[in-house]
Symmetry: C2
Subunit: 210 residues, 2 copies
DNA sequence: TGATGAAGTGAATTTTGATTCATTAAGTGA
DNA sequence: TCACTTAATGAATCAAAATTCACTTCATCA
C-alpha cells in the first residue's frame, strides 16, 4: 500500500535536481541574471518549466541555492587560509589575492554573484556570504593584532568590513562585462590577473599593517 | 499663430517638474525603492500618473535624476575638500568622515542610493557617481604621494577604488533599515556617528599612509 | 470670443516572466 | 495485470507596475 521510492527513482530525482541546479548556474555564467529565467533553466536542464517547481519552491530559492553553493566554496577556501598557521600578514595577502584570482577565473559568474543587479531575495543572500567572508577576514585581522603584526588601535570588525568592501569594489571594474576587454581570449593573461590581485591585496594589507 | 508659453505657464511647468522630483525623492527617503512607484509619485506630487510622463520619459529617467542631484552634491562636497589646500592625509580623513556623517543624516535615502537593490538603469547611474567619487579620492591620494605623505608604491587608481568600496561597504550595515536600531529617535546620537565616521576614515587612511 | 495648440487626466493596455494546475505518463505493491 | 500514488508536462493564468492614449481642460492669440 505505502508507496516507497526505489533507489533507482531516488537517484533519478536527485539527478534531475542537480541538472536543474547545474543548468541554472551555467546560464548565469553565460549571460548573468538576464538569462536566469525559469523557462530557460528548464529547457537547458531538459525538463519542463513546471518540473522546476517540483524541485524548488520558487525561482528565488533555486538561484539562492546556486549562489550559496558557489559562495560557500569561497568561504571555505578563505577559512582554510585563515587556519593555515602562517603569519597573519602573509595570510591576509594570500586570502585577498586568492579571492581575486579565483573570481577572475569565471568573471561572468563572479560578476553576477558579486555585483550585478538582481532580485531582492538573491541580493539578500549575497549579504549573508559577504558577512561570512568578512568574518574570516576579521579572524585574520584579530590574530594579526594579537601577534603584534597589525595595528591594535583599529576595530577589527570595521577593518574587516572595509577590506572586504575594498577588494570587492576593486573587482567590479575588472569583472564587468561592460569592460572593453571582457572577452579577450586569455582574459588579460594569468600574469596580469596575478599582478592585479597582488596590487589589491597590497593596498588592503596596508590598511591594517603596522 | 505660434504658441508662446507665458512666464506664468513656464513657471508652473517648472514647478510641476520640481514637485514631481521632490515627491520622488521624498518617497525614496521614506520607503526606499519599494515606494518608488510612478503612481505614488504622481499622487504625492498632486498630479495624475500620466502627467509624470509629460515631464520625464520614463520612471528610470525620473529616478536617475533624483539620484544624480543628490549624488552630485556629494561629489561637489568632496571636490571642495580635495581642493582646500590642507594636507592630503588630513583631507582624506575629512573627505571620508564627512561622507559617512552626511550619509548618516538621511540614512534611508543614503541606503537606497548606495546599496538597496534597484532596477538596472538606476544601478548603472550609481556606478557613474561612484566613479566620480573615486576620482576625487584619487586626486587626494595622488597629491599625498607627490608630497610624500602617502606610500608611493601603490597604484592610486586601485587605492582609490578600494577606499571608496571600503567606506561604502562599511556604511551599509549602519545604514540598513534591517538594522535593529534603525529608527532610534536620535539615530545613535551625533557623537556615535562621529565616532563611526572617524573609525572608518582612520582605517581607509591607513591603507595609503606611510 | 472662437479657433487652435498644449497640458492634464486616469482607466485601460502592455509587458514580462513567474507560477499554477488539469492532464498525461511513470512507478509501486498486491 | 490492476488500482493507486507520485512525477512530469507546458499552455494558460496571474501579478505587478510601467506606460499609453482618447479625451477633457486650460492657454494663447487674432
Amino acid at each position: 500500500m505505502a508507496y516507497r521510492k526505489t533507489e533507482r527513482v531516488e537517484a533519478r530525482l536527485a539527478d534531475n535536481r542537480q541538472r536543474i541546479l547545474a543548468a541554472a548556474r551555467e546560464l548565469v555564467s553565460e549571460g548573468g541574471w538576464g538569462e536566469a529565467q525559469v523557462s530557460h533553466v528548464a529547457s537547458a536542464a531538459g525538463v519542463a518549466t513546471g518540473s522546476v517547481y517540483r524541485y524548488f519552491p520558487s525561482k528565488a530559492d533555486l538561484f539562492v541555492e546556486v549562489l550559496s553553493v558557489v559562495s560557500q566554496r569561497e568561504v571555505d577556501v578563505l577559512e582554510a587560509i585563515a587556519d593555515n598557521g602562517d603569519s597573519p600578514h602573509q595570510n591576509l595577502h594570500v586570502a585577498i589575492s586568492t579571492f581575486v584570482a579565483r573570481a577572475m577565473r569565471n568573471r561572468r559568474l563572479a560578476y553576477a554573484l558579486i555585483a550585478e543587479p538582481c532580485e531582492k531575495e538573491i541580493d539578500e543572500a549575497r549579504l549573508v556570504y559577504r558577512h561570512a567572508i568578512s568574518k574570516q577576514i576579521m579572524r585574520i585581522v584579530k590574530e594579526g593584532q594579537e601577534r603584534g603584526e597589525f595595528r591594535a588601535d583599529l576595530d577589527p570588525s570595521i577593518a574587516a568590513t572595509i577590506i572586504v568592501g575594498g577588494f570587492m569594489e576593486s573587482l567590479i571594474g575588472p569583472l564587468s562585462p561592460l569592460n572593453a576587454d571582457f572577452d579577450a581570449s586569455g582574459p588579460q593573461g594569468p600574469e596580469a590577473v596575478h599582478a592585479l590581485a597582488g596590487q589589491i591585496a597590497e593596498v588592503c594589507c596596508a590598511a591594517v599593517a603596522r
